[in-house]
């Protein structure tokens, strides 16, 4: 790889040249955005379609669709369970794209998966084929938990080529240089990890959230906070702390898992998901409303 390419890659992520769909950023425009996550294909392809649509009905502003990977290194037990169920039910990258095509919702959709699936897709190694296909089926961007900004050059490049967003996760431990580097590369929104540890619904909302949001105060990109948000009240507190949106995964996956274990009708679980979505969206909205009017430029 020559210096040119490196420059190109570097430049592609810089704040001013940031490309991507408008859709993702726009989803946060109203403030108090609700961003749910589900593992696609959990527990079956069909049920999963219903569940994602239920979330949209419940007020989702953007949806993170998990493409299951066999080694979900960043996930807690809840999402690991979802991933395992989905893989056992036959989920693959191609089925995932089919799923996205078939999905009848009109909020932006982002794919959350691990880098090896992106890298292996298609006839040649490298992320381009995967991104191309994602663009075709209407995905707006990617969250890749095992791809830090330093390794993201090729994916960033492909995203730029196809106009998709690459969302990075900012952890409580992310500071200084690393933040700079990420700011140059990120597009769409930034995923603010509320606290250390893998994903999983917790009772409390971490103090680290406020601190993290402060560190990102001058970023001109929406900040969505995730990890451990479980109730409307949590959502409200996070939004009130200045988040542009809240990301909720495990609390929703728990409902799917319960439905599966208790063998409930898909409709019933879908209804419970929609209801939970409404609770979370309402909380986020209340939180956002409590904020002073944003000083937008």
């Amino acid at each position: 790889m020559g210096d040119d390419a490196a420059d190109a890659a570097g430049a592609s992520g810089s704040a001013d040249s940031r490309t991507g769909t408008d859709a993702t950023a726009t989803a946060f425009d109203g403030g108090g955005a609700f961003v749910p996550y589900l593992a696609v294909g959990d527990p079956t392809y069909e049920a999963s379609l219903e569940y994602v649509e239920a979330l949209a009905r419940g007020g989702a502003d953007l949806i993170e669709l998990g493409l299951p990977f066999s080694e979900p290194m960043a996930e807690g037990p809840t999402i690991q369970g979802a991933v395992t169920r989905a893989l056992e039910a036959g989920m693959t990258p191609d089925r995932f794209f089919e799923f996205v095509s078939e999905l009848d919702v009109d909020v932006p959709l982002v794919c959350m998966t691990y880098y090896n699936l992106i890298y292996q897709y298609g006839s040649s190694d490298g992320p381009r084929s995967f991104v191309e296909r994602a663009a075709e089926v209407g995905l707006e961007g990617f969250v890749v938990p095992d791809l830090p900004a330093e390794e993201a050059g090729p994916l960033r490049e492909a995203c730029d080529e196809f106009g998709l967003d690459l969302i990075f996760i900012v952890a409580p431990t992310t500071r200084g240089d690393r933040l700079e580097r990420m700011m140059e590369r990120v597009s769409g929104y930034v995923y603010v990890q509320a606290r250390l540890g893998a994903t999983g619904a917790r009772e409390d909302v971490s103090d680290q959230t406020g601190e993290s949001l402060e560190r990102l105060a001058d970023w001109e990109i929406p900040k969505a906070v995730g990890f451990g948000i479980k109730t409307g009240e949590h959502a409200e507190r996070i939004a009130a702390a200045g988040a542009d949106g809240i990301i909720v995964g495990s609390a929703l996956v728990d409902i799917v898992a319960e439905g599966h274990e208790d063998d409930r009708p898909v409709e019933e679980t879908a209804d419970r998901l929609a209801e939970k979505a409404r609770e979370l969206k309402a909380g986020a909205t209340r939180g956002a409303e409590s904020l002073p009017e944003p000083e937008h430029p």
Binding site: S70, E71, M73, Y119, D125, G126, A171, G197
Partner: protein, 432 residues
């Protein structure tokens, strides 16, 4: 895919050092939460290990000698030499405290954690060899230690669990998936994410994100440093070949490292051929763990390297009679040396490994680990098939086989191997 594309894909755009890259392999594919810890570790690795700051390497060398039992001998295998009409020498890592090369790395990393001011170490383990090595090193250095181990492995590796507990380590069973090594590594990574500020993750082989592959190699490189010197002293020359088994690749890289610049020395990495080199994509299962020989490029557990995966990129389960080789990935540097043609990857199947286990035990009075037996299996197959490995061959005896007795007896019986001693002594019950 063209070489250029591959080269580009492997390149990193804004790292300050290129250390993490081995050709197109390596890197740091980890959750963001771990990146600062990796940067901190890189810094510590450079200062303490590479620059011997505060005398770190002096202390490491003293402790691996006085606690670990180094140097280990390079001894002539008389009967194998006769059998193959070649000078066969054994590098005796089975004599390291704990019974395998694993301590070289574990002691180095736990000591480093201490220098870094960490309060505790965590480690993953499969068969329990790395876990026991880490538990020993942690006890020795007075460092709290927790080991993550799949539930299945906990139940089938009781003696090693006992050893860890007896050395004061916590053993945390991982109740996810099949409950084996892959799950244990993922869980340890997660736990590291949760507690990264005060915890060091002692990874067990030359795998994972930079700086682990380079650092673990450096701690293990003492094997080839000694062996090279011993060969010159005892044989008056370098060996013609070095043979080593490869799971993650730590004993291999350790045994090869100082020979890599010696072009006259052939390097053979022997992988577990399991029961077959074919794979069952449908089931997501490879009945082997011949990553270098049959796998292809991908990203797993923090590094770009060679993997066992299906065409979608889902990781396949590996299978080997030897738990320590039973891993779907391999260290990035080893993958690179294979691509470069410097290291020759070969495979030995379960049965040949078992036969080699018995051969070394009865011929030389050394009971090797099942992992190690693969190296001897290749030695045998090469010489028997007329392939001349050279006049002097060094085989790295990565560990001892006490941990494998039950498995070996069971598997030997199942296969009705002729080379095995019969165990009927237990059957004729006496009237006590």
């Amino acid at each position: 895919m063209s070489e250029t594309e591959r080269g580009r894909e492997g390149e990193r755009t804004d790292r300050t050092t290129a250390d993490g890259q081995f050709g197109r392999y390596g890197g740091q594919y980890v959750p963001e939460a771990l990146m600062p810890a990796l940067e901190e570790l890189e810094d510590a690795y450079e200062r303490y290990v590479l620059e011997n700051e505060d005398g770190f390497m002096d202390e490491f060398e003293r402790r691996i000698r006085d606690f670990g039992g180094r140097p280990t001998p390079l001894g002539r295998a008389d009967r194998l030499s006769e059998r193959y009409d070649s000078e066969i020498y054994l590098k005796r890592e089975d004599l390291v405290h704990g019974g395998a090369h694993k301590l070289n790395n574990a002691l180095g990393q736990v000591l480093l954690a201490k220098y870094m001011g960490k309060e505790r170490v965590i480690a993953e383990t499969g068969a329990g060899q790395h876990g026991t090595a880490t538990a020993m090193a942690a006890a020795h250095l007075d460092m709290p230690c927790e080991v993550y181990m799949g539930r299945t492995d906990v139940n089938r590796q009781r003696p090693n669990v006992f050893r860890m507990r007896i050395n004061g380590a916590e053993v945390n069973p991982v109740d996810i998936g099949r409950g084996t090594l892959k799950e244990a590594i993922s869980e340890t990574m997660r736990e590291w994410s949760r507690t990264v500020e005060r915890t060091h993750y002692v990874i067990g082989s030359v795998v994972g994100p930079h700086p682990f592959p380079a650092m673990v190699r450096d701690f293990q490189a003492v094997i080839s440093e000694e062996a090279r010197e011993q060969a010159r002293e005892q044989l008056g020359s370098l060996p013609d070949a070095v043979v080593s088994c490869a799971g993650g690749g730590s004993n291999t890289m350790g045994a090869f490292h100082h020979f890599v610049p010696d072009d006259s020395v052939d390097l053979y990495a022997v992988e577990a051929g399991g029961s077959s080199l074919e794979v069952d994509e449908e089931a997501g299962v490879a009945p082997n763990s011949a990553t270098l020989s049959t796998g292809d490029e991908g990203v797993l557990h923090g590094a770009r390297t060679t993997l066992l995966q299906d065409s979608d990129g889902q990781i396949m389960e590996s299978h080997s009679v030897s738990a320590g080789l039973d891993y779907s990935g391999v260290g990035p540097e080893l993958a690179h040396l294979v691509d470069e043609g410097r290291v020759t990857p070969v495979t030995v199947d379960d049965t040949a490994a078992l036969e080699a286990f018995h051969r070394l035990s009865t011929d030389e009075g050394i009971i090797p680990a099942l992992e190690t037996s693969h190296a001897f299996g290749y030695l045998h197959e090469a010489f028997e098939s007329g392939e001349d490995l050279g006049e002097t061959v060094v085989v790295n005896v990565s560990g001892r086989g006490d941990k494998d007795l039950e498995t070996v007896i069971e598997e030997t019986e199942k296969r009705g191997l002729e080379s095995a001693p019969d165990m009927s002594v237990f059957e004729t019950g006496g009237g006590i």
